[in-house]
């Protein structure tokens, strides 16, 4: 981790740049003129009602969805149709999904070591050593030989985080990581994410956990109808004294 921090410290450039980015699903304009910059080590929380384009936005950043207009530059690499660029960006970007999406036919250990071995060409012993470190970090080293089907939801999501971290990414994308979890398990996942944020990882988090946003985020973005409606530090965002955009106010009134 220390090594990573040094790398990140060295750069003052934004690690993610979106410029006037647009995306359509067929005729539906799902992302409208998004412009966004994320600095290294920043924790950015994206909130908004469902269908507002939060998930689509972060999925565009690692090219799970293709944007049709504007530019996205991640870690200094332009996202274009060049397969090499896409592969390089994906190597630097980890992602955690709402439904965990662990590989059910592989053990926890294999889930974590597959990509480092196949993409980064690590030797198995090195990959496994790294995987064990990560599993200890997410506090489930004893589950290494089990299959995902044998784990609880919270454990699965922590494995998913470990899997994403195994590639040693510079950016982590979280797509509603706690939405599919029982209340008791949400905390264990959020704890891991907090720890990750404190260690200096650049994170983009789509979530409905306002507590997490308030506590950990450096910046909060509120999205509605495919636009960034409001953007600011969490203390401002959740403060009742600040005058919000009417849509934001409406959203906050409903959830708080």
């Amino acid at each position: 981790m220390q090594e990573l921090n040094q790398q990140v410290m060295a750069s003052d450039e934004p690690i993610i740049i979106c410029r006037e980015m647009n995306k359509w699903f067929g005729d539906f304009h799902v992302l409208r003129n998004i412009t966004l910059e994320v600095m290294p080590q920043e924790v950015l929380v994206i909130i908004g009602p469902s269908g507002s384009g939060k998930s689509t936005l972060i999925r565009c950043i690692n090219r799970l969805e293709e944007h049709q207009d504007g530019r996205i530059v991640v870690n200094g690499i332009e996202l274009s149709h060049d397969v090499q660029n896409i592969a390089e960006i994906r190597r630097e970007t980890g992602m955690v999904f709402q439904q965990f999406n662990l590989f059910p036919h592989l053990t926890v250990m294999d889930n974590i070591t597959l990509a480092p071995m196949k993409v980064r060409h690590w030797a198995r012993d090195k990959a496994e050593q790294r995987a064990m470190e990560l599993l200890e970090r997410v506090e489930i080293p004893e589950q290494a030989c089990k299959y995902p089907g044998q784990l609880s939801g919270g454990q699965q999501q922590r494995v998913a985080i470990a899997r994403a971290l195994a590639m040693e990414p510079r950016i982590m994308l979280f797509d509603e990581p706690t939405s599919a979890l029982d209340p008791e398990m949400i905390k264990e996942v959020l704890d891991v994410m907090k720890e990750l944020a404190l260690s200096g990882m650049t994170m983009l988090v789509v979530t409905h956990e306002m507590g997490f946003a308030r506590e950990v985020a450096d910046r909060v973005i509120f999205m509605d109808m495919g636009r960034i409606v409001e953007e600011g530090p969490p203390e401002n965002f959740f403060s009742p004294d600040i005058v919000h955009h009417p849509r934001t106010q409406e959203f906050l009134d409903q959830i708080l």
Binding site: R90, K126, Q150
Partner: protein, 1132 residues
């Protein structure tokens, strides 16, 4: 009430009383509980349980009863080779054995690698099976004496259906030294019809004919001459009429003859002067007979007419001595036969003609001389005789005269025909014995005494049936069926210039009921010994493979089994013992081969050392091939490759490889050394030496191949000129490329891109054009190829590469070689392809070496591992040296060996092609199945992936293929493959039907597999792909590591179901003239010896099919339960 509830609602209730746990009621657990729950849960359940148990019992009993008492299992045992491999060339049988043993080895290693827990069970089962196979036959042989063999002797013709048989004069048999052959007249056996018809021995056809006649035509009672006499004398009166009536009813076809004959007899006796009481009694009995016969249908009018004619003749013509004799013969013939009424009509006419001739031929006899007819004793005897014949068929009649005739028997040596023993068997002589002096053929001669007529049934102990068909034989072998006593000889024994009729001995048309003892001693030893010959080597190889697999799975780094002397020794013993036993079993070292004594010991030690070295090498290879990967993982990969390659290896080994001569083998060895070289060059590619060697080695390889070719083709100046020209062009090309590389920095991006494009087009153009020139290739083609070098370098030059990418070098070199080979007049298309395959392999090895060098962990490994360090530079140089030496020596070596006849290059191939037209039996079934599965699986995968492709052309091509094939029955595909294909292109007609059927089955099965796999792919959540992409896996890696494993696991049952149906569908190839196992079954039941033995044959075929299908489905269940499937099984 409501108040209390309100009070409760306001109070927290805590239950502090813990009752503890109690055992369940006794009737609910254990065996009783199980019975109550599962079998007798309700009255209806109980009824169903009992009824179905009874039904099962009845069926099982019926089956075993049939199996033991009546079934003739020699149908299966005698035809085992036919079932297994039809008429596959005996000299190639070792190839089948090799593939079977290879599969056993792979199975053993697989069990070690994948089925760790159940191996004890499997081993236990195998040992039990083998012990049963090995021990039961000797035990049975020791406890139960062999049943006697029965055969007829004598010179009387016996009627069998529509033909007559005479007992064989001589019989040949195999006997072992020390055995005793004893012979006697079978007096007891033929005393009553029950025993005779149950003669459960190996009887010859004549004896069988007798037994058949007795069994089929008589209904327990026989009227003999003796009975008749006693009837006449009044001794037998009680119930006699009833019995006679019963007897008459058994003659369905001759009832009218009875009536007519009775009338005739009456007529004759009417004219006789009734001088004694015999005739009166006879008349009385005739009346009774007539009354009995009246109840029967008068069907055979022709006979009636015939006999009436005879009657007319008898009344109008004088009764001479000859008339009764003629009638005797005629009526006897009629009664002995069961003929169609048309034939009877003809016969009747013939009878009349014959009678008329007989009578007209004696015109001097006066017609109306009544006094001539006197009651002669001869006529009374005739009537008695006829009476008996009417009620008893001819053959049975002869049978009842058996045993009375003395027989002269002699035993002779089959080779020299020297008399060894001689005696006369009669009722008085008890039995005669003969001690066999040596193993071999003997001949038993048996005949009636000179000047006498008669038959007898002989009972022989120590003469067993013989077959010449065995599971594997390279020379003519004759095997005694009962105990596998073997005699190797080129021809059957000759008796008077004719082959001895030993086939007759095994012709066991068993008609009676067999007891369990006879069943055991007849069928179990020979069948088990056959099975043992097949299964013992299989299981031993399997065990050896298992030991090897365990050894391989347990070694890694410091835990290697080779790290201590004791474990080294144990591995030596462990892994070589079964192999040596195997070798001994087959007699490879000591038996047939001339190597014996000390050389054999040396060979065995060398073999043992070889095995250890092999294990050692595999260990080294596995641990080096993927450093860091654990041994078990490597072993699994190795097995995957092994099983993947097995079908094709099997096919190549069994069918043979055309053109695989000593020279070709030498070329392969040279190629392998070259591959090694390429790897080390790859390891050193970054330095100048490696680069030089790459280029130099490449051309040198071409040179070597050329030189090897010249050994056969002979030198000519043109060829040498071509080589020199080629080397000059190549050198110019290399220099040009290096100049281009130096200038590359000053080029603009646009120049690079267009230059690259234009080079590619020109390159392609030259490539295609030279291809068309291939036939008339000359100097211009070589020139074109030289030009191509320049373009190749330009291509690399303009392609924008930042360094000399090995990919481009390799692709370029491959294309160039292809080009150049095309311009090479003395090389045909096939050797070009062969050559390009070698080059591709070389390129891949090179890449592997290069990658090993470029990957950091390999570099670390090189630091750590002495092998890498040692081999990196020195190894490469050494390999280069060896290879160069081979290059120089190989041609002369081959030439030298050729001269000594050791490696016959052109005339004698090492693996000559087997004639696929005579492939059949289980072997063909398995070939079609294994090859079909092996080939259709990858094709099916490709089709399934293609159908999901985003590229419309690929997608719709796959959809079209799948839908068309699925819309057509397999039988049509087979017809197309076999009948239509030659019409499309006559050259394809030279491909054997077996191969075409295989292709048809494969293509058919692939379409279904594709749909199964597609179903699995569609069941996978989209999130899986996204997650795989998000961690950076490429599309190909995602498919290979994420999608396919899950998809295939989901559809294992469907896949295996498809494989099983492919296995069973192979029986359809009979329509294209191939005799796989069902075809063989049809052929077996058409054999004269086993005519119509369908139950045994098809039961055996069904068992074979079931065993293999069950193994497949068992494996599929095991695979389902591995890995993540184990959890799914738990959750379900």
């Amino acid at each position: 009430m409501s108040e209390q509830r309100n009070a409760d609602a306001n109070r927290t209730i805590i239950n502090r009383h813990d009752e503890g746990t109690l055992p369940p009621p006794k009737l609910e657990v254990g065996l009783v509980g199980w019975l109550r729950q599962n079998l007798f849960g309700s009255p209806a359940d109980a009824v169903v349980t009992i009824l179905s148990s009874l039904l099962i019992l009845v069926l099982v009993y019926g089956f075993f009863d049939w199996s033991v008492r009546t079934a003739n299992w020699f149908t299966v045992i005698n035809n085992q080779r036919l079932f297994m491999m039809e008429s596959f060339e005996p000299e190639f049988e070792w190839r089948l054995a090799l593939t079977v043993l290879l599969s056993a080895l792979l199975t053993g290693i697989s069990l070690a690698a994948w089925a760790r827990r159940s191996w004890l069970v499997l081993a236990g089962l195998s040992v039990t099976l083998l012990a049963a196979l090995a021990l039961l036959p000797p035990i049975i042989d020791a406890l139960i004496p062999q049943p006697l063999s029965y055969f007829t002797a004598g010179n009387v013709e016996i009627v069998d259906r529509a033909s007559t048989l005479t007992p064989q004069h001589d019989l040949a048999f195999i006997a072992q030294a020390g055995e005793t052959v004893s012979l006697r007249l079978a007096l007891d056996e033929v005393a009553d019809i029950e025993t005779l018809s149950n003669l459960a021995g190996f009887s010859d056809r004549v004896a069988n004919a007798l037994a058949n006649a007795a069994h089929n035509r008589l209904d327990r009672q026989v009227i003999t001459g003796e009975t008749f006499d006693r009837m006449l004398s009044g001794e037998l009166t009680e119930g006699l009429e009833e019995r006679t009536r019963l007897n008459i009813r058994t003659f369905t076809r001759t009832n009218d003859m009875l009536t007519s004959t009775a009338q005739y007899v009456e007529t004759i006796t009417g004219r006789l002067t009734a001088t004694d009481g015999t005739v009166a009694e006879l008349r009385l009995w005739l009346g009774r007979l007539e009354r009995a016969a009246l109840g029967l249908d008068p069907r055979e009018d022709a006979i009636l007419a015939a006999v009436e004619a005879v009657e007319d003749g008898a009344t109008t013509l004088s009764m001479t001595d000859r008339v009764p004799a003629v009638l005797h013969d005629a009526i006897a013939e009629l009664t002995a036969r069961t003929l169609a009424s048309e034939q009877l009509e003809d016969l009747g006419e013939m009878l009349i003609l014959q009678l008329s001739e007989d009578l007209i031929g004696q015109p001097d006899q006066s017609n109306d001389d009544e006094e001539l007819i006197t009651p002669l004793p001869r006529e009374a005897a005739f009537l008695r005789d006829m009476w008996v014949r009417l009620l008893t068929p001819q053959s049975v009649l002869d049978l009842y005269q058996l045993g009375q005739t003395p027989m002269a028997v002699a035993i002779r040596d089959a080779q020299t025909y020297a008399l060894l023993a001689e005696t006369v068997l009669s009722e008085a002589s008890d039995s005669v014995s003969f001690d066999v002096p040596a193993d071999g053929w003997y001949i038993l001669s048996k005949d009636a005494l000179a000047g006498e007529t008669g038959t007898a049934i002989l009972a022989a102990d120590g003469i067993h049936p013989i077959v010449e068909r065995t599971l594997s034989a390279t020379e003519s072998r004759f095997v005694r069926l009962t105990d596998n006593e073997l005699v190797i000889s080129d021809s059957r024994p000759q008796i008077d210039g004719k082959s001895a009729p030993f086939v007759v001995l095994i012709d066991n048309q068993f008609r009676g009921l067999r007891d369990l003892k006879t069943y055991l001693v007849h069928f179990i030893p020979p069948f088990f010994e056959q099975a043992e010959r097949l299964l013992l080597p299989f299981f031993m190889t399997l065990a050896w493979g298992f030991a090897l697999g365990r050894a391989l799975a347990h070694m890694s780094g410091e835990n290697s089994i080779f790290n201590s002397t004791s474990s080294r020794l144990s591995v030596l013993a462990w892994s070589t013992t079964p192999l040596l036993v195997l070798l001994a079993y087959f007699g490879l070292l000591d038996g047939a081969a001339p190597i014996q004594g000390a050389p054999a010991v040396v060979l065995k030690i060398a073999a043992a050392a070889g095995v250890v070295l092999l294990v050692r090498y595999i260990e080294d290879w596995l641990s080096r091939a993927n450093p860091g990967e654990d041994a078990e993982g490597s072993l699994s990969r190795f097995l995957m490759y092994g099983w993947g390659a097995f079908p094709f290896l099997m096919y190549l080994v069994v069918s043979g490889v055309s053109g695989l001569s000593g020279g070709a083998l030498g070329s392969i060895v040279g190629g392998l050394i070259w591959l090694l070289l390429m790897y080390f060059i790859g390891l050193n590619y970054r330095n100048a030496l490696g680069y030089a060697l790459l280029i130099g080695g490449f051309f040198a390889q071409i040179l070597q191949s050329f030189v090897v070719n010249l050994v056969w083709e002979g030198w000519n100046s043109e060829a040498v000129g071509a080589i020199l020209l080629w080397l000059v062009i190549a050198a110019i090309g290399v220099i040009a490329g290096q100049r281009g590389a130096a200038l590359r920095g000053s080029l603009t991006a646009g120049m690079k891109r267009y230059g690259y494009l234009i080079s590619c087009i020109v390159f392609l153009f030259i490539f295609v054009d030279t291809n068309t020139l291939a036939d008339g290739a000359d100097g211009s083609a070589t020139l074109l190829a030289g030009l191509a070098v320049v373009f190749w370098l330009a291509w690399m030059f303009f392609s924008g590469a930042t360094r000399w990418s090995s990919n481009r070098i390799i692709i370029g070199l491959l294309l160039l070689t292809f080009l150049w080979m095309q311009s090479w007049t003395m090389v045909d298309r096939w050797s070009t392809i062969y050559f390009v395959l070698w080059l591709t392999a070389g390129a891949l090895t090179f890449k592997r070496g290069e990658r090993a060098q470029s990957e950091p962990y390999k570099a670390e490994d090189m630091q750590r591992s002495p092998i890498y360090r040692r081999y990196s530079i020195q190894g490469m140089l050494a390999a280069a040296g060896v290879w160069l030496a081979a290059l120089l020596l190989l041609p002369s070596l081959i030439a030298g060996l050729n001269a000594q006849g050791i490696l016959q290059t052109s005339p004698q191939e090492l693996l000559p092609l087997s004639d696929k037209r005579i492939w059949g039996g289980l072997m063909l079934t398995m070939q079609l199945t294994i090859l079909g599965v092996g080939a259709s699986f990858p094709i099916g995968l490709a089709l399934a992936l293609g159908r999901r492709s985003n590229l419309p052309v690929v997608k719709y091509a796959c959809i079209l293929y799948i839908e068309v094939v699925r819309g057509v029955p397999l039988i049509t595909v087979l017809f197309l493959a076999v009948l239509m294909v030659p019409l499309v292109d006559p050259t394809l007609a030279s491909i054997e039907n077996a191969v075409r059927a295989w292709v048809g089955i494969t293509l058919f099965s692939a379409a279904y597999l594709a749909e199964n796999v597609r179903g699995g792919l569609q069941s996978i959540d989209r999130g899986q792909t996204e997650a795989a992409q998000a961690v950076g896996l490429s599309t190909w890696q995602t498919t290979l590591h994420i999608l396919l494993p899950q998809a295939l696991r989901a559809v294992i049952p469907a896949l295996v179901g498809q494989f099983i149906s492919l296995f069973k569908d192979t029986s359809l190839v009979f329509i294209v003239g191939l005799a796989e196992i069902v075809g063989i079954a049809n052929r077996v039941v058409a054999q004269a010896e086993f005519l119509g033995r369908r139950q045994e044959t098809f039961l055996y075929v069904a068992i074979l099919f079931f065993v293999f299908s069950y193994i497949m489905s068992y494996i599929s269940r095991k695979i389902e339960a591995t890995g993540s499937g184990a959890i799914r099984a738990q959750q379900l």
